[in-house]
């Protein structure tokens, strides 16, 4: 069977691929921003003296981590409208991915918080910092530095998860590849291009992350 690689189709449609890639990145950034807010809230909540916040956070984290992302996406987009919550495609996807990210980021931030040495907290208390000041000026800076690697890998993971947006017809990279595939039957070219774009982006982000980690190593 002969198959002649015709990259013409790719050249003509490359801007679609780039659009899809950019959209995917935007979705990932939006999701990690919202997810970080959720994760921070939950992580600090587990440090409270009362036990109820920890229990609730535990339920949230456990529920989300054991449920497939695709099910969450479909539920938010198709099932929530029955409860009166009707979100547009993009909002619904970002919402789903953010909730998903929040569960994983909660654990990342909890580990980061636990990595702040007890003695340093004692020193902060000893000079008279209030709990809030301690959290703001001592614990948070140290926590962020410690969390940097895990935050980076989570972001790369989330970027790959944006491919699921294709299932609800959001025109990101995977959707574009499938579209080109079914329209022009340039199967190998379409999927090779998409794969290369994903791969290149992930490698670039990982390289950037390594640079950041060198500049801001863990304490």
């Amino acid at each position: 069977m002969t198959y002649s690689f015709q990259f013409r189709a790719i050249e003509d449609n490359f801007d679609h691929f780039l659009y899809g890639l950019a959209l995917g990145l935007v979705l990932a950034v939006a999701a990690i921003l919202v997810g970080t807010l959720i994760g921070l809230l939950c992580a600090f909540a587990t440090m409270a003296k009362a036990r109820l916040p920890s229990r609730l956070v535990g339920i949230y984290v456990s529920a989300i981590r054991n449920t497939p992302l695709l099910v969450i996406i479909l539920f938010v987009y198709f099932a929530l409208p029955q409860l009166g919550i009707r979100l547009g495609k993009l909002e619904s996807f970002v919402f789903s991915l953010a909730i998903y990210a929040g569960a994983y980021l909660t654990e990342v931030f909890r580990a980061g918080l636990a990595g702040v040495p007890r003695g340093v907290i004692d020193a902060g208390r000893a000079i008279g910092l209030t709990g809030f000041q301690l959290a703001l000026y001592v614990i948070s800076p140290i926590m962020w530095r410690n969390c940097l690697p895990a935050l980076g890998t989570t972001f790369i993971s989330l970027f790959k998860d944006t491919s699921l947006a294709a299932v609800i017809a959001i025109p990101e990279l995977t959707y574009q590849a499938r579209k080109l595939n079914t329209e022009t039957f340039r199967v190998a070219e379409a999927w090779a291009t998409a794969s290369l774009l994903y791969l290149a982006t992930c490698l670039l982000i990982a390289a950037g992350l390594r640079q950041l980690e060198r500049r801001f190593p863990k304490f």
Binding site: P117, G119, V120, D122, A123, G124, R125, A126, I127, G128, L129, T130, G131, Q133, Y137, V138, P141, I142, R145, F219
Partner: protein
């Protein structure tokens, strides 16, 4: 004048009684050293004084004001976090493992309390912090991060950090135990200087010679109580308590 008065202090960790009723008075300008075996309650006592630990009974009176708790008996209530933080700023503490803030420079470490707790203007705080760093001999290391400093240097920054806050009383918890032997000297010299300048200090230490030479009074703690106390020179020369005698013998004094 009596700066610190501790009366009947008790502290439990769960079922275990760590402090069983400690009575202690420290005068302004006095240097008091606390010696004793591990587990005798020395560190716990210090941590109760600067309110890092809560205590179950008794009272601590700093400069004629009761700190930590108000009321007596049934009405005894721990102060709120805000008030506790304010009270903690009245004492300074230097820790065995330095506990410098790793994300701040030496200067930043000393300045944090000045700007956030004493609410000083940034320029003023920086000036004061630099003065203190100069006093501990580290003016040229002001912009270094803790990771770039030796153990002895880190501990001296910690001392500057505690003292810059102008505390009424300074608590030192085995501040040379985590240091390599050759670095111990520089830290002890700094403390000697402070003692000469009249800083009121409570020093928990294993360095017996240092305790004898620098402290006006020495206290021997055993099993959560003060077993013997007195002027340092005579306590070390003529210990009366049996366990203190044994303790000193084992320390080769």
């Amino acid at each position: 004048m009596t700066l610190l008065a501790i009366r009947g202090l008790t502290k439990n960790f769960g079922q275990v009684e760590i402090l069983k009723g400690v009575d202690l008075e420290v005068n302004k300008g006095e240097v008091v050293s606390i010696i004793g075996a591990s587990g005798s309650g020395k560190t716990t006592l210090l941590r109760c004084v600067n309110l890092l630990e809560d205590f179950n009974g008794g009272e601590i009176i700093l400069d004629r004001v009761a700190i930590g708790y108000t009321g007596e008996g049934g009405a005894r209530r721990r102060f709120g976090e805000r008030e506790l933080a304010r009270q903690r700023a009245m004492t300074g503490m230097v820790f065995q493992s330095f506990n410098l803030f790793p994300h701040l420079t030496a200067l930043g470490n000393v300045m944090l309390g000045l700007t956030k707790v004493r609410h000083m203007a940034k320029r003023e705080a920086q000036q004061l912090a630099m003065n203190w760093l100069a006093r501990v001999g580290l003016a040229d290391r002001a912009t270094h991060l803790p990771a770039q400093l030796s153990g002895g240097q880190q501990q001296r920054v910690a001392i500057a950090r505690a003292l810059a806050m102008d505390p009424k009383l300074v608590l030192l918890d085995e501040i040379t135990s985590a240091l390599d032997p050759e670095l111990v000297g520089e830290v002890l010299n700094t403390i000697k200087l402070l003692a000469k300048e009249g800083t009121t200090m409570l020093i928990v230490t294993h360095e017996m010679r240092f305790a004898r030479d620098v402290a006006h009074r020495t206290i021997f703690m055993d099993g959560g109580l003060i077993a013997e106390q007195g002027p340092s020179a005579s306590l070390f020369r003529n210990p009366k308590n049996a366990r203190l005698k044994e303790f000193l013998k084992r320390a080769n004094l």
